[in-house]
């Protein structure tokens, strides 16, 4: 089960590179590889592009922001999922285990209900995710259990259920002709509305959280051991746990605020990465990030090209993720390699 780090990393990079090429070239307005290279090179070197203006528009304005957003959201969810799986010592954990997605969803549907506009909705979603996880963490800590991890997860489930009820209530009260479809669309996840102005508010928190998690990658190994062992190995588990939860929640909330709820990526990407490079977190975190970015790129390309209308990302990730995960389970029964 010791797989090489370099081969695994190269495969992950290859997946991302292929995903980028496919995402830029495939679509209702096909772009050839030569045109793509020409447009991108002209941006780098500053010389005018020889490609038609329409191609330049498609690459830089239409697909560009969406592609970048897909890579960032996919990578962010994968890194957060990797960190949470280690922290909760459970390979079935996804980034929304502590209520980040439910909190963000409640924030978003409230934003839509009060007709706040895109920035207002995304801000509320972001804050909702952070507040939900903070509430779970504070309640979990106040309960002072001997197994803080288990209590944290259970508190997450309970608070998540409450948030779900809140979402249901807002949907019930919403205007069924204007607001309800918008809510449904948001809850299913989509990058269709991504513009260049979305990128900075997404990139900032994602970069910050990812840098923290990458910096702590060796400690993540130790945090995946039972609490007593981690502490006798010299790790201050309490402060470190808060830091990891905060960093993972930051990237998850920023992603969900931009794209709506996209399940499965944060669960599947870490598994794929483990299959490639093994469970050692210093290898796992960068590999999972690359795979998550590449994976969501493929899914998003499928979402906008497979049918005459946009297919919501949440539906595609589930349709692809479920059989994939069952296949994974069949192959990995002996060990969560």
């Amino acid at each position: 089960m010791t797989r090489g780090f370099l081969p695994g990393l190269i495969i992950a990079l290859g997946v991302l590179a292929l995903g980028l090429v496919v995402a830029f070239t495939v679509g209702r307005y096909p772009v050839t590889l030569a045109e793509l290279a020409d447009v991108l090179l002209s941006r780098v070197t500053g010389r005018p592009s020889t490609a038609p203006a329409a191609v330049e528009n498609v690459v830089l304005l239409v697909r560009g922001p969406r592609v970048l957003a897909a890579v960032m959201v996919g990578a962010a969810l994968a890194v957060a999922g990797t960190a949470f799986q280690g922290l909760f010592r459970n390979p079935l954990v996804s980034p929304d285990i502590l209520g980040a997605s439910s909190g963000a969803a409640l924030g978003a549907v409230l934003g839509i209900y009060f007709s706040l506009g895109v920035i207002g909705i995304e801000s509320l979603a972001f804050v909702g995710g952070l507040v939900a996880v903070a509430a779970v963490y504070v309640i979990g800590s106040l309960l002072q259990a001997r197994d803080p991890i288990l209590v944290l997860v259970l508190t997450g489930v309970v608070v998540g259920a409450l948030l779900g009820a809140g979402i249901g209530l807002v949907k019930y009260l919403a205007d069924p002709y204007n607001q309800l479809p918008a809510m449904t669309f948001w809850l299913l996840g989509s990058l269709a509305a991504t513009t260049a102005s979305d990128l900075l508010p997404l990139a900032g928190p994602v970069a910050l959280g990812t840098v923290v998690l990458v910096a702590l990658r060796w400690r993540l190994n130790v945090m995946s051991l039972p609490e007593d062992e981690a502490r006798t190995l010299g790790v201050a588990t309490g402060p470190l746990r808060i830091t990891i939860v905060l960093a993972a929640t930051l990237v998850t909330s920023a992603s969900v605020a931009t794209s709506g709820i996209i399940g499965w990526v944060g669960l599947v990407a870490p598994h794929l990465a483990r299959a490639l490079v093994g469970p050692d977190f210093p290898r796992l975190v960068p590999t999972a990030a690359l795979l998550g970015g590449g994976y969501l790129l493929f899914i998003d390309t499928l979402a906008r090209t497979a049918a005459p209308i946009e297919i919501p990302l949440g539906i595609l990730t589930a349709v692809i993720g479920t059989p994939f995960f069952i296949w994974l389970l069949a192959g990995m029964q002996r060990t969560w390699s």
Binding site: V222, E229, T232, G234, G278
Partner: protein, 255 residues
């Protein structure tokens, strides 16, 4: 150096397990902690490790209060060998042992070349160097216990504390772990271990500490403390004592 618990009241937030316990362990000696289930062995062990905070009294190490020593420095003084278990993720044996080096680096560091050297050395010492690239989940229970011992030594501690190191091991591996415990003391470490088998205490320990219902029943050199009468009293069960005619070694049989 001495690791000592002074007038300890041990337990959890909702109940007290034991009161007025005094225990001391010097470097170079082996202390065995014996007693019936639920008697407070594990609670005392975790208190001495600093995992549980004593409700009264103090744990001292080298004349300093353990409570005032950072968690990183503690890990460089006392190593813990838990009961071997199968972890969630299949880290390689080398990675598991390298985790013992965590307290020698800073918050953001990864194992250095020196750390890898130490890990290789302790694996060699236990004769399991060939396991290094194997997944920890795929080796035998006896090998796992040795890997955890190697991880503890990689911490380069003064004291090694083991929770039932022979539980769930086959007969041969029990003997191997006993020998390694003696070797640790020979190399200057102070060793504390809990066990359900008085014979293991006789075999590997210098002194024994008998604990029942949170109370110290007896403490002293194993030969003096571990007698038939005292074991019958400790476990409230009949015990038979055998003596080898050649070596003069004694052993106990339950029932």
């Amino acid at each position: 150096m001495t690791l000592a618990g002074r007038d300890l009241t041990i337990g959890y937030s909702d109940h007290v397990v034991g009161r007025d316990l005094n225990v001391a362990l010097a470097t170079g000696e082996v202390l065995a902690l014996l007693g019936p289930n639920g008697g407070g062995k594990t609670t005392l062990l975790k208190t001495l490790l600093g995992i549980l905070t004593p409700q009264a009294g103090e744990v001292m190490i080298g004349g300093r209060s353990l409570a005032r020593i950072s968690i990183g420095e503690r890990a460089r003084l006392i190593a813990y060998v838990p009961q071997a278990h199968v972890p969630t993720f299949s880290f390689t044996v080398e990675t598991v042992v390298l985790m013992g080096r965590t307290a020698h680096g800073n918050l953001f560091s990864r194992p250095s070349a020196h750390d890898r050297m130490v890990a290789a050395r302790v694996l060699e010492q236990f004769g399991i160097a060939q396991l290094a690239p194997r997944p920890y989940t795929m080796i035998s229970g006896g090998e796992r216990q040795l890997v955890l011992l190697a991880r503890a030594l990689a911490q380069e501690p003064q004291f090694v504390v083991l929770d039932e190191p022979t539980a769930s091991l086959d007969f041969g591996n029990q003997g191997k772990v006993m020998r390694e415990i003696r070797a640790l003391a020979g190399a200057g470490h102070g060793v504390l271990f809990t066990t359900h088998d008085p014979n293991h205490a006789l075999r590997a320990a210098d002194r024994a500490y008998l604990l029942r219902a949170g109370e110290r029943i007896a403490e002293g050199a194993v030969g003096a403390v571990l007698t038939r009468e005292r074991l019958e009293d400790l476990y409230r069960a009949p015990v038979e004592m055998l003596t080898d005619g050649v070596t003069g070694h004694t052993a106990f049989l339950p029932g």
